[in-house]
């Protein structure tokens, strides 16, 4: 029985993939681009973006829920993925526009003139026209696609190597990851960072050379996001099954014990940190073309904290929990902060949800942590009638990130 394929051992994977498939199909049928037009294109984009957020939440669950590392910096990797694809989108689209307008000239422009014109177009807002070094490969989709994975991966590798090697763990590591994402955001805010400072990259929703309308493009992105989520989910589920999964859960609960078994804990942490950063990068690369714009505010420290909140609300340590948490919280958040929710007049004070949503979210987070530590995912245990065993207050291991008694099943 040990050798059955890992999907057979984890039937929840098939259920998840089926749900995702049905969802994607339903949205496609109801969309404006391909179907009945019941769902507006902007809402299709919201749903597509939500799928990307689910993917980065899966990555967060891998690193936190399974490996016990509370990284509060994974949105930095998400943002970097977005920037990498954004560079190509912006460059290529600007190039097409520039060549078109120059084609009307009597003397054909030299290649250098074209590049200069693109530079002026892109960097005019930050008072420059020179291409910074980091744009060296912006003309190549292939290279930028590789960078979507490579840049977050490399940053995670270097950061993780420094941190894990000196055995930084727990709260200190969380703070360090916050510092990393803050430093990156502050750097990108500068006009001479080479990525247009606080203007960020824009117009990303327009695919260069594609004449199809946004109604259709939004569906393409929905499909791509769904596919990425499906593959990311499968990969993650495979990684946490089997012996590798045993080892990383062991690291979460009691890393000293894993060391005495002869496993190099630091290497495993580094592998997980890097892998999840790559997944986050891919999620970001699919998210920002749907959002249309990326700027440094996206990778502010708070974004990564939200990510942890989603996973906690959804239920740490189970992949579908992370997906449910991210989907639910981000959609509800869009509803409240988008101004769609009606304000509540109390006579002396009007509760405006745009402001009060954060308070509500914070409160939910506290309540879930205190009273439903298994999160929304725990509801499935209620259905399966699995209660957390009474361990008389003992968690599953001595480490800070260890699975807590209440999270058991």
């Amino acid at each position: 029985m040990k050798n059955r394929s890992f999907i057979a051992r984890n039937p929840s994977i098939l259920v998840f993939l089926a749900c995702l498939g049905i969802f994607t199909l339903a949205v496609t049928i109801a969309s404006e681009g391909f179907g009945l037009g019941l769902i507006s294109t902007s809402f299709v984009k919201t749903l597509g973006k939500t799928l990307c957020l689910c993917l980065v939440a899966v990555a967060m669950d891998l690193i936190w829920g399974y490996c016990g590392i509370l990284s509060l910096g994974h949105f930095a990797f998400f943002g970097l993925g977005g920037y990498m694809i954004g560079m190509w989108l912006m460059y290529e689209r600007t190039r097409l526009i520039v060549t078109e307008s120059m084609a009307a000239q009597e003397i054909p422009p030299t290649p250098q003139e074209v590049v200069d014109a693109i530079g002026t177009q892109i960097f005019g807002v930050v008072g420059s026209s020179e291409f910074p070094l980091i744009w060296s490969f912006a003309h190549s989709l292939t290279v930028q696609l590789i960078l979507v994975v490579a840049v977050p991966g490399l940053l995670a590798l270097v950061f993780g190597w420094l941190a894990f090697r000196s055995r930084v763990a727990g709260v200190y590591l969380s703070i360090l990851t916050q510092a990393m994402t803050l430093a990156l955001a502050l750097y990108l805010f500068q006009n001479d960072s080479g990525l247009r400072g606080n203007n960020g990259l824009s117009g990303l929703q327009n695919l260069p050379g594609v004449t199809a309308s946004q109604d259709v493009v939004s569906i393409w992105f929905l499909w791509a996001s769904a596919l990425a989520l499906a593959l990311g989910y499968l990969l993650s589920a495979w990684v946490v099954s089997g012996k590798f999964g045993s080892v990383i859960r062991g690291i979460r609960d009691n890393e000293a014990r894993v060391r005495f078994l002869g496993y190099s804990v630091e290497t495993y942490k580094l592998a997980m940190f890097t892998l999840t950063a790559c997944i986050a990068g891919i999620a970001g690369a699919l998210y920002y073309p749907q959002a249309g714009i990326i700027n440094p505010a996206e990778i502010a420290p708070i974004a990564s904290i939200y990510l942890a909140v989603w996973v906690a609300i959804g239920g740490r340590g189970r992949l579908y929990g992370a997906v449910i948490g991210a989907a639910l919280v981000s959609l509800v958040s869009t509803y409240f902060t988008g101004g769609q929710a009606p304000d509540i007049p109390l006579g002396f004070y009007t509760i405006s949800w745009v402001d009060w949503w954060t308070v509500l979210l914070g409160l939910t987070f506290v309540l879930v942590t205190l009273f439903a530590p298994k999160g929304i995912g725990g509801l499935f245990d209620l259905v399966a009638q699995r209660a957390a065993p009474d361990r008389h207050g003992a968690d599953y291991g001595p480490d800070k990130g260890a699975k807590r008694e209440e999270e058991g099943q």
């Binding site: 040990k2 050798n3 990684v239 089997g242 012996k243 590798f244 045993s246 080892v247 859960r249 062991g250 609960d253 009691n254 000293a256 014990r257 060391r259 005495f260 078994l261 002869g262 496993y263 190099s264 804990v265 290497t267 495993y268 592998a271 065993p389 361990r391 599953y396 291991g397 001595p398 699975k403 058991g408």
Partner: protein
């Protein structure tokens, strides 16, 4: 009999308190050794040093034919070199099944990539079943180890040690919290293991040590007070004074 581990003049100070003072200790290839000593004698600290958890202020820990110095190596490398350890408090991975615990300990490659693509071979699976039978957990393979009784967890941890196939086994108070029958079974497992490898057992319970029928080292205030057969050391007046007389 050639020496497998040679601990040479190690000392450790914790916040000014000398927990280990100039301690030297040898053990051969296939030897069973008991270490006794009052609380705070430094028995656990001794194991911490050998396994790389604590760095000694001075001294050497020489290992194997190559006479490698283990001081300065990290825990994982020392474990890979062939030293397995059982903790005073049973530490198994409570969230995982008995099978998963044993599988993780099995003597296989430890690198992340080989573990990621690892598939249990028939031999691995049989070994897990065999070990489970040896430690009396054959029927509990699929149970979450957190649900096991205290004694069963102790055994599982011993099983994990055996699965590692170490050349030296360091066992800290294996019989704590066990019933009499469980203790006897534990003695058998340890004696059996010591036929093919070196085993160091720390234990407070004299009856247990007597059943091991092996050489005994008495630790006191961080250094060796006496060494020899149990009868020999228990008749040593110094030992009687610091330990048995109390």
């Amino acid at each position: 009999m050639s020496t497998l581990l040679e601990v040479n003049g190690i000392s450790v100070t914790f916040d000014g308190y000398k927990a280990i003072r100039n301690l030297s200790f040898n053990i051969g290839e296939a030897e069973l050794r008991a270490i006794i000593g009052p609380n705070g004698a430094g028995k656990t600290t001794f194991m911490d040093i050998v396994t790389g958890k604590t760095k000694p202020d001075e001294g050497k820990v020489i290992w194997g034919e190559m006479s490698r110095n283990l001081v300065g190596m990290n825990e994982a490398r020392i474990a890979q070199a062939g030293i397995g350890r059982k903790f005073q408090k049973p530490t198994v991975f409570e969230d995982q099944s008995v099978r998963e615990n044993l599988t993780m300990a099995l003597q296989n490659k430890r690198g992340w990539s080989s573990v990621l693509f690892w598939k249990p071979s028939k031999a691995d699976q049989n070994r897990v079943v065999e070990l489970a039978a040896e430690i009396g957990l054959a029927d509990e393979l699929e149970r979450t180890s957190g649900e096991l009784s205290h004694g069963q967890k102790q055994w599982l941890e011993i099983g994990m040690l055996l699965a590692q196939e170490p050349r030296l086994l360091l066992v800290d108070e294996p019989a704590a919290g066990m019933t009499l029958a469980e203790r006897e079974h534990t003695t058998d497992i340890l004696k059996e293991a010591a036929k093919t490898r070196a085993v160091v057992v720390v234990e407070h319970d004299m009856e247990f040590v007597r059943r091991l029928e092996c050489k005994v080292t008495v630790l006191h205030e961080g250094s060796v007070l006496a060494e020899g057969s149990l009868d020999h050391v228990t008749s040593n007046p110094e030992v009687i004074e610091v330990y048995l007389g109390r």
